[in-house]
């Protein structure tokens, strides 16, 4: 943890002030970090690394534990709503269940979930279901209680990059490399409709992340566009906003002066502000949009990032960085 971060440790609960966003805590691992999630209790941050380990940090104590059990990279991490269970799935197609507070750091259950990469994992709002998807073009729904495979949804024609349970609990959304976002009815497995996110179809771009607004009226799909030299990473982050009711694209969110970046994750804040994380050659950025095309605020992080999550306190943003750091940025004035 840096000196500055230490000073800001254990702050009082301040008001959200996006334009005062700053890094107040960071931890370092020896390998680049590629995924991160903050548990629902707000106490633990889990990060995955290029050395195939899972790193757990305790925000209360700064204690650190290493979870071993995967033999390949992974970016898919999720939690049960009470935060007691952690779910992970890797690029070998293996899924593991863990006790979040475990000291042994061994999985309680593990299973072969997919043929090849699992790219994303989502937990249903009621915590009973878990969705995984990846390079085998399949979407799978699992019971978190029994680990039983309940449903398999075929239909995507290219790698599935992202999954998200709609907050209403009735549907699952899945986005792929072709810019197709499918809406599945969970109970029947029926494909309800597809959103056409074709503006994200550039090289190996695709729908890298999904978010639904708190009022359920908008769907955000993140990725990249303007890929003038995709092989060199010359491309810009882009978020498409769809009207949930009509399925029509309403508008787009772009970033200013980021000529090498991808929207790796987006989420909505309670007031409807959309937060995006861009990683790439231009560095790591947090981007904040309301209804404007370009961001109303941009916060540059010290290094490029691969993933982002929102802390349950609604104030802190956790980011996983290529330089091996987990950084926690606070959307408020420094204490």
């Amino acid at each position: 943890m840096s000196d500055e971060a230490a000073q800001a440790d254990d702050p009082q609960t301040p008001e959200v002030d996006i334009k005062s966003t700053h890094v107040w805590k960071e931890w370092k691992h020896s390998a680049p970090l590629i995924g991160c999630r903050c548990g629902p209790t707000g106490r633990y941050v889990f990060a995955s690394a290029m050395d195939s380990t899972i790193q757990r940090w305790d925000l209360d104590t700064d204690q650190h534990a290493v979870f071993g059990g995967h033999d390949s990279w992974l970016r898919a991490i999720g939690f049960s709503p009470d935060g007691k269970q952690t779910f992970t799935a890797d690029y070998d197609g293996k899924m593991c269940f863990w006790e979040t507070e475990s000291e042994s750091a061994k999985p309680t259950r593990e299973m072969a979930a997919h043929d090849g990469w699992v790219r994303w994992l989502s937990v249903h709002p009621d915590g009973k279901l878990l969705a995984t998807a990846g390079n085998d073009l399949l979407v799978k729904i699992w019971s978190t209680e029994t680990t039983e495979l309940l449903h398999t949804f075929p239909g995507h024609e290219n790698h599935i990059y992202s999954t998200l349970f709609h907050p209403a609990g009735e549907w699952l959304l899945t986005g792929d490399l072709n810019g197709v976002v499918n809406q599945w009815e969970i109970a029947s497995g029926k494909l309800v409709r597809s959103f056409d996110a074709k503006d994200l179809r550039h090289g190996v771009g695709g729908v890298r992340c999904l978010a639904v607004s708190p009022d359920g009226e908008q769907l955000a799909c993140g990725g990249l566009h303007k890929a003038s030299n995709a092989l060199a990473g010359v491309q810009e982050p882009l978020v498409l906003i769809f009207d949930w009711e009509s399925g029509e694209q309403l508008h787009t969110h772009e970033a200013t002066e980021i000529d090498r970046g991808i929207a790796r994750r987006v989420f909505y804040q309670a007031d409807g502000t959309l937060v995006g994380a861009s990683g790439g050659g231009a560095g790591g950025f947090l981007l904040f949009w309301k209804t404007e095309k370009t961001e109303f605020h941009k916060f540059k992080l010290p290094a490029t990032l691969h993933d982002m999550d929102l802390h349950p306190n609604g104030l802190d943003i956790v980011t996983a960085h290529h330089d091996g750091h987990i950084r926690i940025s606070r959307m408020a004035a420094k204490a």
Binding site: W73, L231, G233, H322
Partner: protein, 427 residues
């Protein structure tokens, strides 16, 4: 460099008649053989002559994601290593079909060209020499085509297959335009190979008869090597027009198209096999773009998914047809990719330890030559460079890399004399 035949000796007169006669009479012969060609017959026909198929993976194939995986290391990336048909030899999981053909393939895992520049390194890999301000060196295809040249040929000996047809290149340097590559596309449409509208075949025949008559008269007094090349280029162009079907991959059965893959590289490899069956000395196909400074892993999934299908189908097909014994297959790239993974999930250029695969034509099947260290950051065993590889390619097809071409009375070595054949690779 002119070769004057002003002596009017009977030897040259005969040669001229044979020359013209062979070219004109040969058309039907080859066209007929091609029309009747069957795998077994093809094997008998082509087994006598050695040839090379080069598969150039443009931009710099990652050795980590292909021939030299390093699982469990920070440089290794996200993919597993999988066993192959050769016990103890593993390749990246992105090559599952190729893994089944490894008993027919050899790997060199210790190539170091000392150049991370695309153009300079490609020049070295394809021409066996470092680029020089003084001398331009010929492409491997030109050297092989000249080295294996058995006299006037009915088709060009040096063909590069591309997604789009083009013209003859200038990659033969001092060997002359006869050995420069001709680029053909995979859509079966040889550029400018159709008669212009309104010109009937009868009229065209009459035109050529008149041209030959004029040539005959001219050659009686003024024959040179250049006039021979001029005459041959016309006759070769006619053969290309008449044998257009050789270049048409749609003549292949649907099963072959499925096996090779219904994408550019699949069609290129299928066309390459047809050309090799038609006795072309050197065929090159290429696949792009492996220059993955960003998203290296996602791009290699896509690119090697195609390569794995097409390449494994090709190796299997050549072996089944008995052609692998006389065909040297090389999978080359200008360099490899860096052990370090950058913040774009990319890998940079890397010349200090990358891999090349070879098969057929006396190459010891299933061999692995050389090694890199645990993280792939340096060569630890049997380092070789572009000169050594060039010597080895020539030796494999029966050419002495230490021999010389006579270029205008000046001896020019086939390969850079500083190179050494990788003898343990040749069985």
């Amino acid at each position: 460099m002119k070769g004057h035949y002003a002596c009017n000796s009977s030897e040259h007169t005969m040669a001229r008649r044979q020359f013209l006669g062979t070219l004109t009479a040969g058309a039907g012969t080859v066209a007929g053989l091609n029309a009747l060609i069957r795998p077994a017959a093809a094997a008998q026909l082509v087994a006598k002559k050695k040839r090379i198929l080069s598969i150039f993976l443009n931009g710099g194939l990652s050795q980590f994601e292909s021939w030299d995986p390093k699982p469990g290391t920070l440089s290794g990336g996200p993919f597993r290593a999988i066993p192959t048909s050769v016990p103890g030899t593993h390749v990246c999981e992105l090559l599952p079909q190729t893994a089944k053909q490894m008993h027919r393939i050899s790997l060199i895992r210790s190539v170091n060209t000392a150049s991370d520049d695309h153009n300079l390194s490609r020049y070295m890999i394809e021409r066996g020499h470092a680029k020089s301000a003084i001398t331009d060196y010929p492409h491997l295809g030109a050297v092989v085509t000249k080295g294996l040249d058995e006299g006037p040929s009915l088709l060009p000996g040096h063909i590069h297959v591309s997604s789009a047809a083009g013209a003859r290149s200038s990659n033969s340097a001092y060997l002359g335009p006869k050995y420069a590559s001709i680029t053909v596309g995979t859509d079966g449409d040889l550029k400018n190979s159709q008669l212009p509208g309104g010109l009937t075949a009868t009229i065209d025949d009459q035109r050529h008869a008149f041209r030959r008559q004029a040539n005959e008269r001219f050659l009686l007094r003024r024959r040179t090597a250049e006039t021979d090349a001029y005459v041959q280029s016309y006759e070769q162009a006619l053969q290309l027009m008449q044998q257009r079907e050789i270049f048409d991959v749609t003549k292949e059965p649907e099963s072959a198209a499925e096996k090779y893959g219904k994408f550019d590289l699949g069609r290129q490899c299928l066309l390459a096999r047809r050309l090799l069956e038609s006795d072309i000395s050197f065929v090159q196909v290429s696949h792009s773009n492996y220059d993955t400074h960003a998203e290296n892993f996602n791009y290699h999934i896509k690119l090697l998914g195609e390569f794995d299908q097409s390449f494994s189908a090709l190796i299997d097909d050549l072996a089944e047809r008995g052609m692998l014994e006389s065909t040297l297959v090389i999978v080359m790239s200008e360099f490899g990719r860096s052990p370090d993974i950058n913040g774009d999930y990319g890998r940079e250029h890397w010349c200090k330890g990358f891999s090349i695969a070879m098969a057929g034509c006396g190459i010891q099947a299933g061999a692995v030559i050389g090694a890199t260290n645990k993280d792939g950051t340096e060569v630890t065993d049997r380092q070789v460079d572009h000169n050594d590889l060039f010597h080895t390619y020539l030796q494999a097809v029966g050419l002495d890399p230490t021999a010389h071409f006579n270029i205008g009375g000046r001896p020019v070595p086939l390969a850079d004399p500083t190179g050494q054949t990788i003898k343990e690779l040749l069985s």
